[in-house]
């Protein structure tokens, strides 16, 4: 085999490897920065739960006994995050979600999922209600000492 050809193939291999690594890195960065996570107070006893359980409690159903969750909180501090949560976790549009929860309230004596519009208020609330959970973007969650990330939602 010609030494020049072998060298060229190796260079191509290295170039492809670099491209692949860069792609994976940027994907990882992108997915991390775009991720949404389930959060609770730093000393909360709540552990990772099934995604279906999360859907269930955000529709307004009772949490399962084993989940340790008291109630969910809808984080409305960022409209984009709220829409992304509904799309990726609840698989619903805003109006679809509202209609579903309204239906449940007046059909089965349910109540609205607690809503908090301020980021600071949400953190304070979670600190004082250790069995309650909410969601926020991964990057923000990492920067707040008072809360812990329970699991990645999307």
């Amino acid at each position: 085999m010609m030494p020049g050809f072998s060298k060229k193939v190796s260079l191509i291999k290295i170039f492809m490897l670099v491209l692949l690594s860069a792609g994976c890195f940027s994907l990882a960065m992108a997915s991390e920065s775009d991720s949404g996570v389930l959060v609770a107070a730093q000393d909360s006893p709540v552990q990772k739960v099934d995604i279906l359980e999360i859907r269930r409690i955000y529709i307004g159903l009772e949490s399962s006994a084993g989940s340790g969750i008291n109630q969910p909180v809808m984080n409305l501090s960022d409209p984009f995050l709220y829409k992304t949560f509904l799309k990726n976790v609840m698989h619903m549009t805003e109006s679809g979600y509202r209609r579903k929860t309204v239906k449940r309230i007046f059909r089965q004596g349910g109540e609205r999922v607690k809503q908090i519009e301020s980021h600071a208020e949400l953190i304070e609330y979670l600190k004082n209600n250790k069995n309650d959970v909410s969601f926020m973007d991964f990057k923000t969650a990492q920067q707040i000492r008072e809360i812990k990330v329970i699991q990645i939602l999307w």
């Binding site: 279906l52 859907r55 269930r56 529709i59 159903l61 009772e62 949490s63 399962s64 006994a65 698989h91 619903m92 549009t93 805003e94 109006s95 679809g96 509202r98 209609r99 309204v102 239906k103 309230i105 007046f106 059909r107 004596g109 349910g110 109540e111 609205r112």
Partner: protein, 353 residues
């Protein structure tokens, strides 16, 4: 009757209860619809069968406007009390109790309830008056033609999920006595007392990301008297129905098919509804077709009417929706006409609080 008619003071009482510091946890919720409409190309338009709500050629707010207030009180972790008072323009704004029941949570999935509830025959029966929960001004009238809306009794409810499906199973039993029934008295032009008794029913619902499926069955007996004369006693009746709804991307397709049978009187009535909507941002344009068709019998029963509707819902904010709707009804019954052909224009706003 004990539960049915209460005065406005009861509604105020509910609001006061919420304002008072209670030992139990209480949550107050409510809804309201303000709807104006008028009939054209026909003398009258029957917009709501159960409440016998009729529009004529003058603009009116009464037939479809309503307000409801619900108080839910947690008496302890497993026991709650729910009461819902409703005032409808079609009933001269009398306040009635649609719901008043105790619910005991047996475990995460099972609960048992006793008291007064909406009779869950149709898909929208439970939240018939909550206009915010659907895209129409009112649910398609031909499909919702029953004369009894509530019952007093008990039910056992199971709620869980299987993979991505929410499951609801509701087994209920009870009865309802309706004096001077709104719908039957209108159609008979005489006071009609109606009792639905020994009712036993089952509702099964599967609700997923892109599809809802519901099936319903109820059987019971009827007592009826017209102008004080008993015309039916212990007559068996059976109701069955299926509803399938699809949510596909921006499209929503709603459908419902029901059958009501009373063998002793040779009465078989089929009702159905299909509606297509499109979620276009805050707007939901929709088009619908509904019908009621009675099988011909020896008594000449041939009630048959259809309605085509087109409308738009605008979600103004997260608790308010504006709506406009045009309906055209064809009354094809010969022996049993209802109110004749008519067209209808309605504008409304629904909100929840």
């Amino acid at each position: 009757m004990l539960f049915r008619h209460v005065n406005l003071a009861a509604l105020c009482g509910l609001l006061l209860l919420q304002a008072m510091p209670l030992y139990a946890d209480s949550v107050l919720s409510g809804y309201a619809s303000v709807v104006a409409g008028r009939a054209s190309n026909g003398d009258e338009y029957l917009a709501d069968y159960p409440k016998a709500a009729v529009y004529d050629e003058d603009w009116s707010f009464s037939p479809d406007s309503s307000v409801g207030v619900q108080l839910k009180t947690d008496l302890d972790n497993d026991l709650m009390f729910v009461i819902q008072a409703v005032s409808n323009g079609a009933s001269d704004y009398d306040v009635e109790l649609d719901w008043a029941y105790l619910s005991y949570q047996l475990n995460a999935e099972f609960s048992i309830q006793a008291g007064r509830k909406r009779l869950p025959l149709y898909y929208y029966s439970d939240f018939f008056d909550v206009g915010y929960a659907y895209h129409w001004i009112r649910v398609p009238a031909d499909n919702y033609t029953w004369q009894i809306s509530n019952y007093n009794g008990v039910n056992l409810q199971y709620q869980s999920y299987l993979n991505e499906w929410d499951i609801l199973v509701n087994l209920y039993a009870g009865r309802e006595d309706s004096r001077n029934n709104d719908l039957l008295s209108l159609l008979s032009d005489a006071p009609v007392d109606e009792t639905w008794k020994n009712m036993v029913g089952l509702v099964v619902e599967f609700s997923g990301n892109w599809m809802d499926f519901r099936t319903t069955y109820m059987q019971g007996q009827i007592d009826r008297s017209v102008d004080g004369v008993v015309v039916a006693e212990d007559v068996k009746q059976v109701f069955s129905g299926v509803s399938v709804n699809f949510n596909l991307n921006h499209f929503v397709l709603l459908s419902e098919f029901n059958r009501y049978e009373r063998d002793a009187s040779d009465i078989v009535i089929d009702t159905s509804m299909v509606s297509l909507g499109y979620y276009w941002g805050q707007f939901t344009p929709h088009i619908s077709h509904s019908l009621l068709k009675q099988k011909h019998n020896a008594a000449g029963g041939d009630e048959y009417h259809t309605t085509d509707s087109v409308g738009v819902r605008w979600d103004y904010n997260d608790s308010t929706a504006f709506k406009i709707q045009y309906d055209r009804t064809e009354d094809r019954g010969v022996t049993v006409p209802v109110l004749g052909d008519a067209e209808m224009l309605s504008l409304g706003v629904d909100f929840v609080f």
